[in-house]
Amino acid sequence: MRTAVFISFFVLASTLGEIGVTHAMKIIGEVHSFLPRAILDVIGRAFRQGWMWLGFTLMALSFFAMLALLSWEDVSFVIPATAASYAVGTLGAKFLLRETVNRTRWLGVLLVSVGVALVWMGR
């Protein structure tokens, strides 16, 4: 039960966190130089975005949940089980954001869900 609760929390926090980070990086724009100073500059600019802080905080919370999960379960179980985020993200897009989800995406989500169920059964 606790594993299910923590995986659910991890999935929600990490999915929302990734959305925040993605949004912040799109605001920053494409990175062209990989010199350390340029990368530090990008990181500095990214962390001046509220979206980055929101995303970062949620990802930090998901990290703590991951630590707890890894103390209980095999990593080869925990990481595939977190793929449930694809299903949760799509359900959220459909029912909260009212996005149109086409058949291919539903099939993909179904496969991911079956996969997570198989990983769960193979625990």
Binding site: I39, M66, D74, S76, F77, A83, G108, V114, V119
Partner: protein
């Protein structure tokens, strides 16, 4: 990622760095946390000492370092590549982690778990094949680059 553009070497390199650093980080994190033991309760008097032990463990910090490299490469990759490309491509982690867990941590990965991992990868690829925007009818909205 669109069909009319070839995959740039910097995208492949950054993606490889992200996948290898992320998988290695997860393995090291697991190894470090397992050295400490199981978190029995989610109450502050149990969790805080556990967190202190975790954050003073060298293997955990090595894992965190790899995960920071993964996070930075993920951030950089997202600055030019579409999320709809990065998302399915990152599904390779679901294969890499069980493989590394089997080799490095001697974890027993059951055939059912492998079947699940295969299903997940196939599903993520299918999700990635769909256009990023399905709400608006503008064909330009699906155009991206990687």
């Amino acid at each position: 990622m669109t069909a009319h553009k070839t995959l740039q070497p910097k995208t492949v390199g950054m993606l490889a760095l992200m996948l290898i650093a992320g998988s290695t980080g997860d393995i090291l994190l697991s190894k470090g946390v397992k050295q400490i033991g199981e978190l029995q309760h989610w109450t502050p008097d149990v969790f805080l000492p556990f967190l202190v032990q975790v954050l003073t463990n060298g293997t955990v910090w090595l894992g965190i370092s790899f995960l920071i490299v993964c996070f930075i490469s993920y951030m950089l990759l997202l600055s030019w590549a579409d999320y709809s490309f990065v998302m399915p491509a990152s599904a390779l982690t679901y294969v890499l982690v069980p493989v590394l867990a089997r080799i490095v941590l001697n974890e027993s990965v059951t055939p059912l778990r492998w079947a699940g991992v295969s299903c997940i990868c196939l599903g993520v690829v299918l999700v990635g094949l769909t256009p990023p925007s399905t709400t608006t009818a503008h064909p330009d909205s699906a155009a991206g680059q990687s």
